[in-house]
């Protein structure tokens, strides 16, 4: 069975329906890009999958590794191998990055029936992971995301991903606000973490990130549904023709997607 099977998913925020029958299947070893215009429901999809209680699921089903995702709390999903790289990582003044990362790492190890690691063992692990996202160890002593630049926050998300080694990583607009160097570092980190037994969903508005993280499949999300799916060339086509080409069925020229 595929790693993630989304069937006819419907979700809303407050009274506003956002996802209106979304279906998507992701298997191990695959990279999927979910693209779409602003307000199409991309971030909602990411938040719903991660279990944000602010979003209400009103229909459909999602199975993750054969289990009903909606039977699981957010932390259980993470423990089962789901990871969301936030579009807007949350600042937590007062908790050091090192403490947070180790706490998360140990919670996930515990859930897998593995022993917790002590701060020294964890420091060794971090030395290895920090290099992957070109981060300085001084970042570990700072409060989680607190006062981080946009680029530092995104790198910190990928650092967490590197430490937690998820089976399914969802990158929500990870490219937004990044200059080209930071984008490359983040993309390199993601590529290094790619394995035959894990999968990645890249949620993005722009094709730019997909030059670095090459998708196997590209899906266009609009009006709360996947309207079109294809290979990596679809992203280039979208860049060229704009989203209106898919969402209204009429090509409107190369400027529309900008």
């Amino acid at each position: 069975m595929a790693l993630l099977v989304i069937k006819d998913l419907e979700a809303r925020v407050g009274d506003k329906p956002i996802l209106k029958g979304l279906s998507l299947t992701v298997d191990r070893g695959e990279v999927h890009a979910v693209m779409g215009p602003n307000g199409s429901g991309k971030s909602t999809l990411a938040q719903v999958l991660a279990g944000n209680p602010a979003y209400e699921v009103t229909g459909g089903s999602v199975s993750f590794d054969g289990k009903d995702l909606f039977e699981m709390e957010a932390e259980e999903r993470a423990q089962a191998g789901m990871f969301l790289a936030f579009q807007y990582p949350v600042e937590i003044p007062g908790v050091s990055n090192a403490y947070f990362l180790r706490a998360a790492y140990n919670e996930i190890r515990k859930a897998r029936g593995e022993d917790e690691v002590d701060p020294l063992e964890f420091a060794d692990l971090m030395d290895e992971k920090l290099g992957m996202v070109d981060m300085d160890s001084a970042m570990l002593n700072r409060s989680v995301n607190s006062g981080f630049s946009g680029g530092e926050k995104k790198r910190n998300e990928i650092l967490q991903m590197a430490v937690l080694e998820p089976r399914l990583a969802i990158l929500d607009e990870t490219d937004s606000g990044l200059d080209i160097d930071a984008l490359r570092i983040v993309a390199d980190g993601v590529n290094k973490l790619k394995r035959p037994d894990n999968a990645t969903i890249v949620v993005t508005h722009y094709q730019r990130l997909l030059n670095y993280i090459v998708p196997d499949f590209v899906h266009v999300l609009a009006h709360g549904r996947i309207l079109k799916s294809g290979g990596k060339d679809l992203a280039l086509e979208l860049e060229d023709k704009g989203y209106d080409w898919v969402t209204t069925g009429t090509p409107v020229g190369s400027m529309a997607g900008a």
Binding site: A54, E75, A78, F86, V90, G94, V95, A104
Partner: protein
């Protein structure tokens, strides 16, 4: 309806104690006169009621209704090991221990005081440091404050510190006021005096702690005088016994370019009140008043700060945080007065409270009275619960709900603990808070 006269009954119960106390004390005659005057003032004022604006949110009747016995002789049996939880792991600090209100030389260590530093118990200081103790009662006025008057009437022991001009005391000075079971139903009125000379610097910690769960009253007054350019790091650790009452007033007078840096922790006691007052009485002086109160059960804890900007170009910074659980009740009242001549005053006050239960309560009252026109004064108060987005963020990393809530509660406190300059205290309080919530 309660009439003010109702509070006179409790006051009368102090008369006998005062008569006895005032006859057997060997203090200078001016102190005896001050005690008498202070007691008369206390009798006239009575215990404050909630009609008193300064006590609007906190009723003193649980204190007024008790009859406390004055603990003015040495008593108790506290072993050094019992103090270990309160000493921040430091073995080389200058330490004065007071057991049930009286100086305990055998538990203290003043052997390594550097040159230029005089530190005595008040009883000795009356004769040994006459030029220093003549400031006692001159900084903290008992005219309008009943508890300060009560302290002045009954003061019997405490610490007297004098740091000479230009001397920086490298190691912190720890004043430990500890009670044991002997303190049950007793009252203590410690009086301390901290005087720093020009450009002197010191860190002084006052810890109010207990090895017991007895009910007693601590009513402390500490007077602080900072000469030009002096810096005092002043920590108050209120960790009294769970059933105890604690009222304390710290009052500082600051000369030009001095800096008073206060941190007040309140976790103990049934009903506690901490007054922290300072007057910026010289240009360029600054005050940093931070604090953290963490309450649970039925605890009531009240902080009142008062910063008087009496001269131009002074600054003040305040950050107080409260974490309230159970049916606890916290109060924060931050007064800032800016005199007409105090132009270019730069003041900022922040009070943030985290409510962990539906039944906990906070009263927060910023009180700015500004009579100068060219000033920058801001204040802000927030009351809230755990941030849901932060909670989800932690959960999305595999951290369960309970742990995530605790971690965020700790983080709320750690934010103000990070401001503590003395490393042992910062680390000690972070550890204590981590243990409490995580």
């Amino acid at each position: 309806m309660t009439t003010p006269v109702a509070s006179r009954g409790p006051v009368e119960s102090y008369v006998d104690a005062f008569d006895e106390h005032s006859t057997n004390a060997s203090v200078p005659s001016w102190v005896q006169s001050m005690r008498r005057a202070a007691f008369d003032r206390f009798a006239a004022l009575g215990f404050p009621t909630t009609k008193n604006e300064d006590w609007h949110f906190t009723s003193t009747s649980p204190i007024a209704e008790q009859e406390f016995v004055l603990l003015d002789a040495a008593s108790g049996d506290v072993r050094k090991e019992e103090l270990a939880p309160f000493t921040f792991g430091a073995s080389d600090w200058h330490t004065m221990v007071f057991v049930n209100g009286r100086y305990a030389a055998e538990l203290s260590d003043l052997s390594k005081l550097p040159k230029g530093v005089k530190l005595r118990d008040l009883t000795s200081a009356w004769t040994e440091l006459p030029d220093v103790v003549d400031r006692v009662g001159k900084i903290a006025s008992y005219d309008t404050h009943a508890f300060t008057a009560l302290n002045a009437a009954f003061m019997h022991d405490g610490a007297v510190l004098h740091v000479a001009d230009g001397v920086e005391v490298a190691k912190p000075i720890h004043l430990v006021f500890v009670t044991d079971a002997t303190a049950a139903k007793g009252m203590m009125h410690p009086r301390s005096l901290i005087m720093l000379g020009r450009h002197a610097k010191a860190a002084v910690i006052e810890s109010y702690v207990s090895t017991t769960d007895a009910m007693y009253l601590t009513n402390a007054v500490t007077e602080v005088s900072l000469a030009d350019g002096a810096t005092l790091l002043h920590y108050k650790m209120q960790r009294e016994a769970g059933r105890a009452f604690h009222v304390s007033t710290t009052e500082a007078s600051q000369a030009r370019d001095s800096h008073y840096i206060s941190f007040s922790l309140a976790t103990g006691g049934a009903l506690t009140r901490s007054n922290i007052y300072t007057t910026l009485d010289g240009e360029g002086a600054g005050a940093t008043l931070n604090g953290l109160f963490m309450l649970d059960g039925q605890q009531i804890s009240d902080h009142q700060t008062q910063i008087v900007h009496a001269k131009p170009n002074c600054f003040s910074r305040e950050l107080y945080k409260g974490i309230l659980d159970g049916r606890s009740h916290g109060v924060f009242n931050g007064k800032v007065y800016v005199h007409p001549i105090a132009q270019k005053t730069d003041g900022k006050q922040t009070n943030k409270t985290l409510l962990l239960s539906d039944t906990a309560q906070i009263d927060t009252k910023p009180q700015l009275e500004i009579f100068a026109d060219d000033v920058k004064c801001t204040h802000g108060a927030t009351v809230g619960q755990i941030d849901q987005m932060a909670l989800f963020y932690l959960k999305s990393r595999g951290i369960n709900q309970t742990f995530a809530r605790r971690l965020l509660t700790y983080a709320f406190a750690a934010d103000v603990l990070e401001t503590i300059e003395t490393e042992e205290i910062r680390v000690g309080l972070e550890h204590m808070t981590l243990e409490r919530f995580v």
